[in-house]
């Protein structure tokens, strides 16, 4: 039946993959999927855009006054746009776990595990694709903000900074979303759990109103809410002034006093939740009998 000469040459281990190559393959796959399924892209943009319009139209006058007590002379739109960029990052990060659950359900997760690709590179590629998408979405919101007459005071460099803050902010929620996905292995549970977190996190922060004008217990929550750190860092860049009130840092001078503490807090959170997600993912993909 078989003749040994027919065999492929003896270099049986024919995988020529490199770590970055494996990451790139998965980066491409997830980008392709995002393009194929623009619905997810549009919906995760639509909600924040609706917020931007509704909030400025309905609460603009009232909230604008509250904002101007602390920061005189800015419109509520200008105040809100950085918060909406963070909301976009949050909304987009929620869908990350859904992609993972889908992969587990349709067998692609196992298919990837049985391939010789480096598993860390596989998840890195997926995460990079999602952060890439988030960068584009945050840029769209900033563009929309400019179209609505707001101004990124720090210019193009500041705009890039806001995008970077959005990506940094998304990472801890990406990790959380994937952790939920691995734990529940169920699409609906993942969506519900992640969505349930979204609104309390947004409202109990400095996203829509300054810290001073929030009720006491909300202030307390906001002080420990990651959204506050993302929003304040983005807003400091938007307004070119230190608007971070939860941490009083003066070491860097000016705007950076509002940006750097936020970035540091987000980095620490990313590392912590990233480690949890990596642990859960490697447990799920390790070849141990469950």
């Amino acid at each position: 039946m078989s003749t040994p000469t027919d065999r492929p040459d003896k270099d049986l281990t024919r995988s020529r993959n490199s770590f970055l190559g494996d990451a790139w393959v998965n980066f491409k796959r997830w980008n392709l999927k995002a393009v194929r399924n623009p619905f997810v892209l549009v919906v995760s943009l639509a909600q924040p855009v609706i917020f931007l319009v509704l909030f400025t139209e309905v609460f603009g006058n009232v909230a604008g006054a509250a904002v101007n007590q602390g920061i005189p002379g800015i419109s509520y739109e200008t105040y809100l746009v950085p918060a909406i960029t963070i909301q976009v990052a949050l909304a987009a990060a929620i869908t990350s776990g859904i992609g993972l659950v889908n992969d587990i359900e349709n067998g692609m997760f196992e298919k990837v595990l049985v391939s010789p690709m480096n598993r860390t590179a596989v998840f890195l590629g997926k995460t990079a694709a999602e952060m890439f998408r988030i960068a584009i979405q945050v840029s769209i919101i900033l563009g929309l903000g400019v179209a609505l007459g707001t101004d990124v005071t720090t210019g193009p460099a500041g705009a890039i900074g806001i995008v970077a803050v959005g990506m940094l902010f998304s990472l801890w929620f990406l990790a959380l979303s994937n952790s939920l996905a691995v734990l529940t292995r169920d699409q609906e549970s993942t969506i519900i759990a992640a969505n349930l977190l979204q609104f309390p996190l947004l409202f109990l922060s400095t996203a829509f109103l300054p810290l001073d004008s929030l009720p006491g217990w909300v202030q307390t929550f906001a002080t420990y809410n990651p959204v506050t750190y993302g929003v304040d860092a983005a807003r400091s860049l938007m307004l070119d002034r230190d608007v971070m009130t939860v941490l009083d840092v003066t070491a860097f001078g000016g705007t950076l006093d509002g940006v750097i503490p936020g970035v540091v807090v987000l980095l620490a959170l990313d590392l912590l939740l990233g480690a949890v997600a990596v642990f859960l993912l490697s447990r799920a993909s390790s070849s141990q009998a469950r």
Partner: protein, 341 residues
């Protein structure tokens, strides 16, 4: 009854002795105990030489899929040693992965990607050189007959088309060994035949195939060697012909009315020529398994008529793998969607 882990007692003339060939699959004392204490696989020895078309049979829950997942590095064995293409599954899992193709029981395709994109992703996952990729994708699409829908998203495909696409993605790196876990379950006969043809072809080209199936006819048609697993242990092994021989002769099916079956069975058991035969009451009569079923079958029919029983039909036939399976496991292989392939 088939012998325990016995090769046939008769000399194998149709093939070279297995041990001259290198082992594609070499498992000794393979065990897998789940963390809840379930012993899914209890000390299985398997040796599949390179180039063989090997069939792994057993009822649902017997340990087929668990075994295949250990062989494919998706589960770590809790005991024994497993070498695939010469690489130990626990020490060199990535070497094992790059030298095997694996088709899971559940169809695994990315439905948001087109057929060509699915194969392309697999090519990249397995490090197929860029220069060969385009040709490889075209060849595989032709092979599984999906060339005309290459750029359609897999979500639009029928179950059979997805299975074929799944099969193509398992073969992008021309692996010397392919694991197929019930590859044709749920397919219509036409799609199933097409996959069979395809598996035969790659086997003819030298690929070792490790197949599990619910369709005994499939095993009979395709496999050179079989092993039957029951409750996590191998119960029988040999070529389909060996196993059928071990059933012990030919089978006489006699159709009788309901109330006549027990009496007929008693008469058959007392029948002198069938003293060593196995007599069973079946769904529509009795079956007699005996080396002399053909010679003395008519005599038994006469004896039944003389006893006043009405025989409504009869047939003498060679044993099938269904009979083998029944003899080994005491149950018929359950088949949710038995087609007429």
């Amino acid at each position: 009854m088939p012998q325990q882990r016995g090769a046939s007692t008769e000399p194998r003339t149709e093939r070279e002795p297995a041990d001259d060939r290198a082992a594609a699959v070499d498992a000794e004392g393979l065990r897998l105990t789940y963390s809840d204490g379930t012993e899914a696989v209890r000390g299985v020895d398997l040796r599949v030489p390179e180039g063989e078309f090997f069939g792994f049979l057993g009822p649902n829950g017997a340990g087929k899929t668990t075994t295949i997942k250990v062989l494919a590095t998706l589960l770590a064995p809790t005991g024994g040693t497993v070498r695939i293409n010469g690489f130990d599954v626990t020490e060199r899992p990535r070497a094992v992965r790059s030298t095997i193709g694996y088709m899971a029981q559940e169809t695994s395709v990315d439905e948001e990607l087109t057929a060509a994109e699915n194969i392309s992703f697999a090519c990249e996952a397995y490090g197929v050189p860029r220069s060969e990729r385009a040709d490889r994708i075209d060849d595989l699409l032709d092979l599984v007959d999906l060339a005309d829908v290459a750029d359609k998203e897999a979500s639009e495909f029928s179950g059979g088309m997805k299975k074929r696409l799944d099969a193509a993605t398992a073969l992008v790196h021309e692996p010397p060994l392919v694991f197929l876990d019930e590859p044709t379950t749920g397919l219509d006969p036409k799609a199933r035949n097409r996959l069979w043809e395809y598996f035969r072809r790659i086997n003819d080209e030298g690929t070792t195939i490790f197949l599990t199936t619910q369709y005994l006819e499939e095993a009979d048609q395709l496999c050179e060697q079989l092993a039957v697993i029951l409750d996590g242990a191998i119960e029988a092994r040999g070529s389909p012909a060996d196993l059928k021989r071990e059933v012990g002769g030919e089978i006489l099916d006699v159709e009788l009315a309901d109330d006549a079956r027990e009496r007929a069975a008693a008469i058959a058991r007392d029948f002198e020529a069938f003293a060593d035969a196995t007599v069973d009451v079946s769904d529509d009569g009795i079956t007699v398994t005996s080396p002399v079923a053909r010679q003395y079958g008519t005599d038994l029919l006469v004896a039944l008529r003389d006893a006043g029983l009405t025989v409504t039909g009869f047939n003498v036939r060679a044993p099938t793998l269904d009979d083998v399976f029944l003899a080994i496991t005491g149950e018929e292989l359950d088949r949710e969607t038995e087609g007429s392939a």
